[in-house]
């Protein structure tokens, strides 16, 4: 069994180990989960090194092909009558996403150190969710992809409904039903490509080598894009996101906004655009308009929010809108921006939600106006919050800037298939969201951390504990290092994006 299967299995085995532990030993449960996540981080590092050695040798050759080259492939026959194989492998995009997930789950477990109520089930569900996410990022057989996709969504219901806050049951149900409806759409698309390709297979690479009929692409592309878009918070199917993120417990929000929503963008590039390039060209303008609305609406809505978690949730809607916007731009620069934004925003939002959890745990309130000046008592948390905020508004030196500059330049450079004026107008509108983001970030953070502090209420609060410092420190380090030195990441993702661009070009 190769390293990729181990990366998927280790969280799952840790979850089972946690389930088998006795209920009362919360300390042991947390440490087992942390060790499990730690092992995943180590395996990811090994895998990245192995990948990099193989990939950098192939770099030039990849750029001129139309079929994706996979590394560290494992393939076992599973359901023979459907030609379904357990087919896993990685390319640069997958590796970037796996690194993101590994970092987020490790920091997520650290940030959940205070969970005491039914801790066993909480950590078990969290780990099963993460196993599903890893599975999505490594699968190249669409059936296996779909199976892991569902495993990644399903534990959310229990995680939010049991351990959440606020309108947790309503949010949990809304989130689960909407995301499952999205995957129902995906299932239709899956059957369509299975039969219409003439190949009767779910192997993504083989399916990608077929030129589909235009009449088919016209309806299958939006089915795929919408199916993935629901998870990527595409307007107007984003409504599960604010309630879901706000009601979820800290680690769940971190994982969800940080990683799960990226499954939508990942699927859009990997499946929707890769398999249906003609359909993508037909529908690009329509979805570009929707995603522009996403970006602006999310930002404007964030200004209005009084609750810190809803504020971050709408900010996520806006930033995930960038990812899908970039996918609709259909050129290399924008695609690179999309993947960079997926990675960067994942870390940023992970940091945001972790910090919110820590602040909420201390102040017991999420209302912005009730807090104020607490930077005096929590300097570490305030600094990290500001770093996250500045990264999300695209300050150079952090990942947000790298990603957004790619996306906006890509939008401006246009592509041969969409009316350039329309595309540039939409890009300009989307760019203006930076200003709106600056408004809500600076204003919101200012309300919470600066100004007068109510000494009676907040004077006794403590700053971050060791585990919290570790979690936030890792995330801040990632944000800044990728922001200052993004080259490795960009090289890693450029290669696998070329085949998709070449397919579009045909």
């Amino acid at each position: 069994m190769g390293i990729l299967s181990w990366i998927v299995l280790v969280p799952f085995i840790t979850a089972i180990a946690v389930i088998l532990l006795p209920n009362k030993s919360e300390h042991l449960i947390k440490w087992v989960s942390l060790i499990g996540s730690g092992i995943v981080v180590i395996l990811t590092t090994i895998m990245t090194c192995q990948f990099w050695t193989l990939y950098s040798a192939d770099l030039e050759a990849i750029k001129s092909t139309t079929s994706t080259k996979l590394y560290l492939v494992e393939r076992f026959t599973w359901l023979k009558d459907f030609n379904i194989d357990y087919y896993v492998g990685v390319d640069g995009i997958s590796v970037a996403m796996i690194i993101l997930t590994a970092i987020i789950i490790f920091c997520g477990v650290l940030a959940s150190w205070n969970v005491t109520n039914r801790a066993k089930e909480f950590f078990a569900l969290l780990l099963i969710l993460v196993a599903g996410v890893f599975g999505v990022f490594v699968s190249f057989d669409l059936f296996v992809f779909f199976v892991f996709y569902e495993i990644a969504v399903l534990p959310m219901y229990l995680l939010i409904a049991v351990w959440g806050t606020g309108k947790k049951e309503y949010s949990a149900m809304k989130l689960t039903i909407m995301l499952m409806a999205g995957s129902a759409l995906l299932l239709i698309g899956l059957f369509a490509v299975y039969f219409e390709s003439g190949l009767q297979t779910f192997d993504l690479i083989k399916l990608g080598s077929v030129d589909y009929d235009s009449a088919l692409q016209v309806w299958v592309f939006p089915v795929f894009f919408l199916g993935f878009g629901v998870l990527g918070a595409l307007f107007p199917f984003h409504t599960w996101s604010p309630d879901g993120h706000a009601s979820a417990p800290t680690a769940v929000s971190m994982l969800h906004a940080g990683v799960l929503m990226k499954l939508g963008g990942y699927g859009a590039i990997r499946v929707a655009v890769y398999l249906m390039p003609e359909g993508a060209k037909d529908w690009a303008i329509f979805f570009m308009v929707l995603t522009t609305i996403n970006v602006i609406y999310g930002a404007l809505a964030a200004i209005k929010q009084k609750d810190l978690k809803y504020f971050t949730a709408y900010s996520s809607v806006s930033h995930c809108g960038f990812v899908l916007f970039a996918v609709c731009c259909l050129n290399l620069l924008a695609f690179k921006g999309a993947v960079l934004q997926m990675f960067g925003h994942g870390v940023m939002t992970g940091l945001f939600f972790a910090l919110i959890g820590m602040v909420y745990g201390r102040t017991k309130t999420r209302t912005l106006s009730e807090m104020g000046g607490i930077a005096k008592v929590m300097p570490w948390l305030a600094t990290c919050f500001y770093i996250a905020g500045l990264a999300s508004l695209g300050l150079p030196g952090m990942t947000g800037f790298v990603a957004e500059s790619h996306i906006f330049l890509g939008g401006f450079f246009t592509n041969p298939w969409i009316d350039p004026t329309v595309m540039r107008t939409l890009t300009v509108i989307a760019t203006m969201s930076i200003v709106v983001t600056a408004v809500y970030v600076l204003r919101g953070l200012g309300q919470v951390f600066l100004g007068q502090m109510d000494v009676a209420k907040y004077g006794k609060l403590t700053d971050a504990t060791l585990s919290e410092k570790l979690a936030t420190g890792i995330l801040v380090f990632t944000i800044i290092s990728v922001g200052v030195f993004p080259n490795y990441l960009i090289t890693m993702i450029e290669g696998p994006l070329m085949p998709i661009i070449n397919k579009l070009g045909h």
Binding site: W78, L79, D81, F82, F146, V147, E150, I151, L154, Y157, L158, A161, V162, E169, M173, T176, I177, M180, A181, A184, L185, L187, I188, F191, A192, Y194, F195
Partner: protein, 453 residues
């Protein structure tokens, strides 16, 4: 000796009847029933991939027939285990006759899948249905139980009459009872008329809309073990009958009825799903879920091929393990607390985590969540529909699965999210626990390693 399973089962039935008269210890009936079924299952395993016939071709077995037989025997086994468990704590008299009748019904179903002519088919169908009328009325002290049983008998008799009329017409028009001979006479319009009557008659067993009206009342008020037997074995017997007539007999003219199957699929699925949303009683809820699943089965009937039969049998196997797990937990809660409302499941996950987990897995399987067997069953059926070119039907089925997730989550919510006062602290027999565990494992493993017939 390909009739060995049937002989084992009917022999056990008679043995239990005699034993009940002569012994004082009623446990022996249970042991006989379990052993008899285990022996029958073992015999059946020996024939699982043979193709043979007896009595000059009147009794046949092939892999599809054996698949159905395994389904029937397993369901009966679980039903008997559940019934015995319930009888240890609640009022459950005349257990000997109960097992006997159940085994007779099972015998009828076994003969049904092996028949090749109309008379044997009809007699087997009646043999499998009549004991169920009695069994569903077992709890004499409950008024609703009697009412439901009367509805069942009346509607059942009525549907049997229509079915028989259709069969009689077939005989009258073609002069033969043999399915082979009749299929040579197709396609003649009057024959289609009689086939429509047969569809109406058998729709009662399969609980398609609009022939499903009996099932909510009967499922709610019959003993839980009988409800589980009805929801799986009775439905499977109906589908087996359906396959014999509409697949095997009609051959390539099967396509003429395709529109009917499409309508049946869409309407039954959607109706079952939508009405299930408001249900408060869990057994009634399972009835509507069962109706929705009957709608799914029609997706698999769109193409006449061995692949469809294989898909339908696998769907039933997946449905069997998931449904029986749920009914196992239902019988546990019903025996412990005497209550069957969904809100009575509150707090189950804290007090009996393993049962709650089994219920969770089985409910997700029914909702069609991978990698559980329920998903694979629905996937196989959707594959048939997509192969026939009906992508929109795949869409309808997928949306219906999502809707069904909503109401299954309501039960999960009661078990995991809501706190309850019930203690659920009774002891359960070893075999009962083993059966529930085996079924849960089956739900998970069959989704990854499917069994194909």
């Amino acid at each position: 000796m390909i009739m060995a399973p049937e002989i084992a089962i009917s022999g056990t039935a008679f043995l239990i009847l005699l034993n009940d008269v002569f012994t004082k210890n009623k446990m022996t009936n249970y042991i006989l029933a379990i052993l008899g079924l285990a022996i029958a299952f073992t015999f059946a395993c020996g024939f699982s991939s043979t193709q043979a016939s007896m009595f000059g071709g009147r009794f046949i077995i092939d892999s599809a027939a054996m698949g159905f037989k395994f389904i029937f025997i397993t369901t009966a086994f679980a039903a008997i285990v559940f019934a015995n468990y319930q009888s240890t704590k609640t009022q459950f008299k005349y257990l000997g006759e109960f097992y006997t009748l159940l085994l007779f019904s099972l015998t009828g179903m076994m003969f049904l899948v092996s028949s090749t002519d109309l008379i044997t088919l009809v007699i087997s169908l009646e043999l499998s249905t009549l004991p169920l009328f009695l069994l569903s009325a077992w709890q004499k002290h409950k008024m609703e139980s009697m009412e439901a049983a009367v509805k069942y008998v009346l509607l059942g008799a009525f549907s049997s009459a229509i079915l028989l009329f259709g069969v009689a017409l077939l005989y009258g028009l073609t002069g033969s009872m043999e399915l082979q001979t009749i299929s040579a006479e197709l396609p003649r319009m009057p024959l289609y008329f009689s086939l429509a009557m047969i569809f109406a008659g058998i729709g009662f067993k399969i609980t398609t809309f609009p022939f499903h009206q009996w099932s909510p009342d009967v499922y709610e008020n019959a003993p839980t073990s009988i409800t589980s037997f009805l929801s799986i074995a009775s439905k499977a017997a109906g589908v087996a009958f359906f396959i014999k007539i509409f697949f095997d007999m009609m051959g390539s003219f099967h396509q003429d009825f395709q529109t009917l199957y499409l309508i049946a699929a869409v309407v039954t699925m959607s109706f079952g799903n939508l009405v299930a949303i408001g249900q408060k009683n869990i057994k009634r809820f399972m009835a509507y879920s069962s109706i929705a699943h009957a709608g799914f089965i029609f997706m698999g009937l769109l193409i006449n091929s061995p692949e469809s039969k294989s898909a339908i049998i696998y769907f039933f196997i997946a449905y069997l393990v998931s449904n029986l797990t749920i009914f196992g937990v239902i019988s546990f809660v019903e025996t412990e607390t005497g209550k069957t409302q969904i809100k009575d499941y509150a707090g189950l996950s804290q007090k009996r985590p393993l049962y709650a987990l089994a219920m969770l897995i089985a409910l997700f399987s029914l909702a069609g969540i991978p990698p559980l067997s329920g998903f694979l069953g629905k996937f196989y059926l959707m594959n048939i529909a997509a192969k026939a070119g009906f992508y929109w039907l795949v869409g309808v089925a997928a949306i219906n699965s999502t809707i069904s997730l909503y109401y299954y989550l309501q039960i999960i919510r009661q078990m995991y999210v809501v706190d309850g006062e019930e203690n659920f602290s009774g002891k359960t027999p070893l075999l009962f626990n083993l059966v529930v565990i085996a079924l849960t494992l089956g739900t998970v493993l069959l989704g990854i390693f499917p069994i194909k017939f």
